[in-house]
Symmetry: C4
Subunit: 211 residues, 4 copies
């Protein structure tokens, strides 16, 4: 970026716009994997709908996972004043994980309740781990960058930075646990992934709840 960045006041604007686009598309494409049963009627149609519950569950969990990741992305970028090439690359890795989500979601939708569900849940949790690591990497790089002017708008010693540090440090560990749970029980793993999404919806806790 070399010098370009210095002359741009609102430089994070396009990164946010591109990221918003990717999040919005990934979250909206999820519904394409929920299929309408074909050529049935009456009881058969109702039954076909009901047996598709893993589709609906996987759709909902992925919807809230992506939605809440977006909220977190939004939170982080309210603190970021500048981007550099590495931050763009780390953000691209994060978006890679987000665009992948529809694949393990479709996998879980197809296999939950059937043999193969364990592999589906492992892939699902592994992509969650992938995203958690990207978030953590993006944040650590941004918060610890020594470049001048700094990438963060706020001082690195602020309570806000520490609160995010605390929350994000555990993200990868939580998803390592998700992968472990997937080996035991696919359904439990998906429920746990849904609960993790909700956990990350919480604003980072600061020493004294200043909210």
């Amino acid at each position: 970026m070399a010098g370009i960045s210095d002359s741009q006041v609102n430089e994070t604007g396009r990164v946010e716009a591109f990221s918003d686009g990717v999040f919005a598309i990934a979250i909206t494409l999820l519904i394409l994997e929920v299929h309408v049963p074909k050529g049935l009627e009456g009881r058969g149609l109702t039954d076909a709908l009901l047996t598709e519950w893993p589709s609906y569950a996987a759709f909902l969990i992925s919807f809230f996972t992506i939605g809440i990741m977006w909220i977190n992305h939004h939170r982080l970028f309210t603190l970021i004043g500048r981007v550099d090439t590495w931050l763009l690359v780390l953000n691209m890795l994060l978006l890679l994980g987000v665009t992948i989500v529809p694949f393990p979601t479709a996998f879980v939708a197809d296999y939950l309740g059937h043999p193969g569900e364990r592999l589906a849940a492992i892939l699902y949790a592994a992509n969650g781990l992938n995203i958690a690591l990207s978030f953590w990497g993006l944040w650590v790089y941004t918060a610890s960058s020594r470049r001048r002017p700094r990438l963060l708008k706020i001082p690195p010693e602020s309570a806000e930075v520490k609160a995010i540090n605390a929350q994000y440090r555990f993200g990868p560990l939580f998803y390592v646990a998700a992968v472990g749970i997937a080996f035991l029980n696919a359904g439990l793993c998906m429920a746990y992934c849904g609960a993790l999404a909700l956990f990350f919806a919480l604003p980072p806790r600061r020493p004294r709840g200043a909210e």
Copy 2:
């Protein structure tokens, strides 16, 4: 969001951008469910096109429903000056309903005029109810929030707020009626849902038409 929000003047910008993306994608994906008849010719092709009228009707009703929801979302956010975590979550629930629309639309397109059309229409109307409830929840939360600085840009006693209160209060009731109609007649339910979309295109009526 804890303190982040206070330092951000244009904080609703990214929420609107993300929401715009979701609305725009959901409305554009609808056409993917309108299929080209394969391998026909002459009269057979024309007939195949004509018998697909439920696809076209469902496409148009959903297009205007999402489009007019977007207009309403746009109207609301011209009044909102700040977001907090709950508002983000409520907005995400609203977007959930919007991204689901292509599913019941495809369902109605496949089943209208066949056995199973009632179930299709019930699902369609139920998702409409879901969206109406989310809109109502988003608005009530925003308008009644006691936080300082307020989420609304305008005073809660203003005629504008009252006009929206009046229009949104009835939204869920109208869609409860839609679900009821779906039990009686699927086609009538869809016509009613189209009419509801047009109703919400009207600007909220204020005591004296100040427009």
Copy 3:
């Protein structure tokens, strides 16, 4: 919109963002209708690719049609300072035509060179007419609106407004001709639609080329 609009300086921002989203998605979805031939090799694969030329032609014509419509939408909105409910509705009608484009495009891709190509071309041209009428309606409404403050940023007597009047007045007529040509020859109609797209890429000609 009732009074909301008066307090919003940059009010066209979200309309443009939503429209940009719809244009961008419609133009990008087109490629989904270009299919990879399955399970072939050598000569058979090359032949299968070559016989798909109507897919490529339809893709390219629709790409440039939507792309150049976007350029025109962009031009119009650089002149528009404010939106009202009717302008939003007219814009939604225009976007309806844009989101429909992938359907007649897929139709032409499937049927060009086969019986049924005439019907395909008629539908393609008819949607072009639909869009041209929407553009014309949007422009006439905006340019002739008597509301205060005006929707247009520039005076209605300016050379720029007259130049756009001249170009847009002919849009619907050109597409009526496209529908007529489709009855005679489907391939010619598609070539003509491609040429029309290029015509609208030209900036509106002003009395003295002030560019």
Copy 4:
């Protein structure tokens, strides 16, 4: 654009927004070509997943290609202060190449490791060449435009312009080589395309690394 442009301070905004949308959608649609194996279990399912490695490889290479093109587009537009009709048309040609990417990607995913892989890799590399030429054309036009006010924000003799000249001049040559490699070995061509993407992630090198 004739005179419109002069009155618009932030005129590149919508071009960037539309382009961001196209990049974001193209990059997110790629996952739709990665298919979940159907109806398998145990060993058969794992094997089916593993034999799909060309899908994953093609997905990743295209993801980073589009992602890094977006970074470059972003870099260029931080230097561009104004757009004119030709720049819009050249940008549209660039976006054409970007929207096409999912097609050769699906082609490579289907044919890598099978007869026909060479044709797949040739198409893939040819579209890369297409994009590299568009980038080069866009840049040369922008940097050499004699119009007043200039399209570039920075003086054409600046080190930054020269660095981009140097990097972009080689882009088309590198992709000509990719097409040549595709004739020899499809897998090698794809690896080379992945490496090219990474090369373009590097910021343009300036005489003295001012970064």
